[in-house]
Amino acid sequence: VTDWSTADLAERDNGRLEQHQVETDDGTIVQMGLPASPRFLRLARLTGASLGADLGLSLDEIEDLRVAVDELCAAAIEDAPAGSMLQLEFRTSTSHLALEGSVLGTWDEPFVLHPVAAALLEIVADEFSLDQQDGRRSFQLQAKRPSHDANG
C-alpha cells in the first residue's frame, strides 16, 4: 500500500489543494479548490460532514449530507479534463448549510445525473440543482438545520 500524503496526491493529479476558511457573524465560509479527481471526493465529504456537525445535524442527517456532497461532486468531475479543478464553497448559517460547486472544462456530454444517483439525491438532499453553460458545470446543495434546533 502506497502511503501518499494529500499534497503528493494533488501534485500527482496535476493539481493543487487550496482551502480558505472565514468565520462570519452567523456561521462559517469554507472555500476549497481540489483537483477534479475521484481521489479527492473524500475531502469534500469530510468537510461537509464536519460543517454539518457544527450545524447540529443528527448522525443520519450528516450521513445524508456526505452522500449528497459526494454525488454532486462526483457528477461534476465526471470526464473532467486533466488538470481541471473542482471549486467548492460551503456556507453555514444558523439555519442551513449551502454548498456551491463548479468545474471549468470542455464537455461532450450534458451535466446529468445517473438514475441511481438521482434517486439517492432525491432522498438525501433537501434541495439541489445542476447547471452547465459556457464550459462551466455547477451545482448547488442545501441542507437545512432541524427546525427544533433552529433557535438554539
Binding site: 475521484p38 471526493l41 473524500r42 465529504r45 452522500v67 459526494d70 454525488e71 462526483a74 441511481v116 434517486a119
Partner: protein, 110 residues
Amino acid sequence: VFDESENGLRITTTELGDATLLALQGELDPLTAPDLLARVDDVLSQSDTTHLVFDVGGLTFIDSSGLRTLIATKRSMLERGGDLEIRNATMKTRRLLEITGLDTFLQVTP
C-alpha cells in the same frame, strides 16, 4: 485468502467451497468501485464459482457508484447462472439499498 488494499478499500477474498466471499472494508465510491469490479473480474475469470458473497459490514461509505457496482456484479453472476449475495449490510448501507429499491433486486442477508 487474497487481501488487496488500495485507494481506501480493502478487499479480502476467501474461497468457501462453491462460493467466493469478498469482504469489503473502507469506502466504496468512484475511486474504489473500479478496484472492486477488477477484483470480481479476476475471481470470475479464475474460477467457476456461481455463488459470490459480498460481506459489506466493513463499508464506512457507499454511494451510487458503489451501488452500480453491486448491480453490475449481480448481472454478471446471473449471466453465468449464479447469484450475488450481499451480507452484513449496516443500517446505513441497508437504507441506501431500500431508498433505491435495490433491496428487492439484490439478495440481502443478515
